[in-house]
Amino acid sequence: MQDFTRRALLQGGTALAATGALTGPALFEFAKAWAADSPWKAEPGAKLTVMRWKRFVPAEDDAFNAIVAAFKAATGTEMNVFSESFEDVQPKASVAANTGSGLDIAWGLHTLPQLFPTKVLKMNDVADYLGKKYGGWTDAAAKTCKLGDDWLGIPVTTNGGYMTYRKSATDKAGFKEFPKDFPSFLEMCKALKANNTPAGFALGHASGDANAWLHWILWGHGAYTVDQSDKIIINSPETMKALEYCKALYETFIPGTPSWNDSSNNKAYLAGELYCTLNGISIYVAAKTDPSKKDIAEDTYHALHPIGPVGKPSELQLVFPILAFNFTKYPNAAKAFIAFMMEKEQYEKWMDGAQGYLTQTLNAYESAPVWTADPKNAVFAQASKRTLPASGIGTVGEKAATAIADFIVVDMFANYCTGTKDAKGAVAEAERQLKRIYR
């Protein structure tokens, strides 16, 4: 549902961005020169089977395919690339890890490499090479891929979601500047509701949107599902405060948010019924590319998440790590490809194709042209820096991924906000579910 809708919304952006990609001979020349100097020489006759997540933005896919083609031409490596929807990437990668065949490279979501740390090719040299060359890795990105001192994969990019709002509405609500802390954010939402220009955030089983904003609220209050040693600590006074705050916010929302999935806020916002939400840049891009939505696009701005009582950013953004399996016959080709795709000449063009949907994990790309091409994109450049790993402060790995996929935190908040359960009951249920997962 989610990718279908977003992709459809973004279809319009294709032609615009595709022209920006480094194409044809120039890219090929660079690729040849790069291959000659590269520390990783692709094995002769190498063949790589690469699985990636299915793109939202066609132009991003085009740019990626151009990178693949250039790499193939320069190194003679046979490249077989296919994409899978978000839900299918992890199971298929797991099966490959399990059977020791089928894939050489898998590019997935969240903490994928942590699921089978003994089956991946260590990427320490690639991470060092890229990190040194491009100003180091952001903290959360590194955590996502590291086990001890070893890099199990390379965090390629982050899909950032930020406050997307109609400036005319927030101005009218008396907030010339988007709120920076929780109390004033609540005040603004109240005022938005009073003006009949409500905010709305998904409280349904929306894997992306609901998890993102509710973890932000939870972590913003200094509450976490588990501590550093994976001990369950959800039952805490901080969680209670988060619940109370969330309920107060919920009362200002547009009706129906408990039924929302990942595409609901996009639709409501673009229909002019929703005035503030948390989303990837897709809403803005869709409005920008649709001439009939010109006024919405002009009125739309982005802002960072307000900071909670914990006093530091507590965002949850989606990291996309790439990994190579250690049973690949062509480890050098795999490393070469991963390093190649993250070189400036490819990476910046590729980010252009994504139109702000994807954020760099290497600090040097903060100055990438995509962030200045449209000042409204700029906020999204922060995504990799301000996010926590999907596990919060706990250990990254499959249990944390399961807790997110199973909507434990989402259901806890939804239970309390909709009045289905009292605060104690909602927390008790979440605690019980976490015990099941972390047993």
Partner: protein, 318 residues
């Protein structure tokens, strides 16, 4: 042929039938051989997956990783899992309400369509439409119809001035349950109606004529002729209807994903969420396996229902 007879007379000693001969010529074995392809088919496609599912429920298998046998641990965790029991409640509510209404509406429609009326064939064909549309498509249509912002129902009522706020169809627990049950009924009625209609057509008109001559009312016609003759079909149709409803997945997944706050999570959707989305195959299999007793119970009820019908009609023995 004659040669053979002569020869066997000439040499009267019989060879002992070997085990191989038995397998080749014994009629019982022959029957077994002919059944084998069908059996292999059933074992491979029905028994094996079922057995595997039950086996998985006793392990801690995750997607892509072989699990260890952990006995009934998954079931122990489910036993005091409030969400699991909520899904059981939802499933029972969904099945009972939807099946009862599907039966009532289906029977009514069947009786109606059995009457003589203009465009009979066309009307009968039209009733099937909801059944023909792929489930996911109709679910998507309902998802739009019940959308919290863009519902056509809310929109119409608002423009008629009857309500001032959108109805929170899929965001309110009670409304959401009503909506998914409604969608299920809409989809399931044609199956019940058309099958019952087929049953009605087998009832001989002479029975009604005789009854009418005896002064039977329309209700008596239905109660003492139609209904008893229809019971075997009703038993079969309702068994299928209950099984389909109990194991429904697509409608719920496309419309609510089990939300709001798990109010429409059925056992099938919860099993999918835990097994496939969250990757815990063992636990998901345990939830699926927990459906088996309920399904068996449904089958038993209809089976005994069939037997009772025979008894009603005065047939002997069983």
């Amino acid at each position: 042929m004659a040669d053979v007879v002569v020869a066997s007379q000439a040499k009267p000693q019989f060879r002992e039938a070997s085990a191989w001969d038995q397998l080749k010529y014994n009629r019982n074995w022959l029957g077994f051989w002919f059944m084998l392809p069908a059996m292999a088919f059933l074992i491979f496609f029905l028994a094996y997956p079922l057995g595997l599912g039950i086996w998985l429920s006793f392990t801690d298998t995750r997607i892509g990783r072989v699990g260890q046998f952990i006995g009934i641990e998954n079931y122990q965790w489910l036993w005091d899992d409030a969400i699991f029991w909520l899904s059981v409640f939802n499933t029972l509510l969904y099945t009972i309400v939807a099946s009862a209404l599907k039966f009532a509406i289906g029977l009514y429609l069947a009786l109606l369509l059995n009457e003589n009326m203009p465009f009979k064939a066309m009307l009968r064909a039209m009733v099937l439409i909801p059944f023909i549309v792929p489930t996911v498509l109709s679910a998507l249509a309902f998802w739009w119809i019940f959308d919290s912002q863009f519902s056509i129902i809310s929109w119409s009522l608002k423009h008629l001035g009857l309500i001032s706020q959108n109805i929170n169809f899929l965001g309110d627990t009670t409304w959401a349950r009503i909506c998914v049950i409604f969608a299920n009924i809409w989809r399931g009625v044609p199956f019940v109606a058309i099958t019952l209609l087929a049953g009605l057509q087998t009832v001989s008109p002479s029975l009604y004529e005789a009854a009418t001559l005896d002064g039977a009312t329309r209700w008596q016609n239905f109660r003492y002729i139609t209904y008893p003759l229809l019971t075997p079909i009703i038993a079969v149709v309702m068994t299928f209807s209950v099984l389909f409803t109990f194991t429904d997945f697509q409608l719920i997944w496309a419309m609510t994903r089990g939300g709001p706050v798990n109010a429409t999570h059925l056992m099938a959707t919860l099993s999918y969420q835990r097994a496939i989305i969250a990757g815990q195959l063992g636990e998901g299999a345990a939830i699926s396996s927990a459906m088996i007793p309920f399904l068996l119970a449904a089958i038993m009820v209809s089976w005994f229902g069939l037997q009772r019908r025979k008894w009603q009609q005065g047939e002997s023995n069983d």
